[in-house]
Symmetry: C2
Subunit: 150 residues, 2 copies
Amino acid sequence: MKLSPWEIEARFRRHAVRLTRQRVAIYAALVNDASHPTADELYRTVKRQHPMMSRNTVYCTLGALRQAGLVQEVNVGHEVARFDGNVTVHHHLICRVCGRIVDVMDEELNRLAISSRQAEGFHVLGYRIEFYGYCADCQQARPDVLEHCG
Amino acid sequence: MKLSPWEIEARFRRHAVRLTRQRVAIYAALVNDASHPTADELYRTVKRQHPMMSRNTVYCTLGALRQAGLVQEVNVGHEVARFDGNVTVHHHLICRVCGRIVDVMDEELNRLAISSRQAEGFHVLGYRIEFYGYCADCQQARPDVLEHCG
DNA sequence: GACTAGACAGGAATGATTCCTACATAGCAT
DNA sequence: ATGCTATGTAGGAATCATTCCTGTCTAGTC
Ligand SMILES: [Mn+2]
Ligand SMILES: [Mn+2]
Ligand SMILES: [Zn+2]
Ligand SMILES: [Zn+2]
């Protein structure tokens, strides 16, 4: 389900995002990749077609697209930032071993309510659920939580 | 509800965590602070009573306590790591403006199920829910999402 | 009281992200 | 079409939370 350049341009205009070759390339790379890539992965992907592209452009573009609501950041724990071109409401399964992030589109999960008593004055805009566990490929492996200390 | 030194020692022994003055001080500072402090905040707090304490000790201790299951890391977006001495199952409300993190202890939220069809081979161990919005103090303020680019 | 695996302090190294700046260009007005 | 200006881009320097390294130090054990 590759997104056409025409549709990308339409989205940019709809969200008042300035249209440049670099931005289109970065957005196309992200929206056509369900793996929630990092900024550096996107950089390396896009660099094949745009050898002059700088990392800074990737970061700036992702920032602009995020502000425009075309991209969201999916952060897992303390790892490097990962990005998601799917901005429909959904949640994620995260493998504790390989870090894989898989989408969970489940209507049931989109109706969560929080008692106003609990919210204590908070104005809740939304929520995200991160399921964690072991993916099919990593069932037998154990997480490598080794840290040097002493 | 300040935790007694005696109770801290008991927990350390129960979880086979080596007992040192520094570790007790760090754990006490964390478990008696509901604000989910950063490593540096803990460092500055503990340094008052232990002037020789190094940041590395704080990081190593938090790592050891986390492996022992006495502490969890609460990461919000891409910010600095924050820690939680409350390891009972609970979720969080996060203010988009000031970054405040407030506990949500709601039994209702602890029964979420994910259809096995959706999980696609994933072995789900648990999940965390982050509610986001504006805290009582920040209702009128707008998030400051300014980034320099050009 | 000594042994030893593990912890501590201090400081160097790392690396993802942000910042800076000169140049280029998209979108708009003429 | 042509020029103007606000904004984007490339390249590289700077930041800073975290990790890594190394030489003491000490908690737990016998
Ligand atoms: Mn996703
Ligand atoms: Mn908490
Ligand atoms: Zn996996
Ligand atoms: Zn707030």
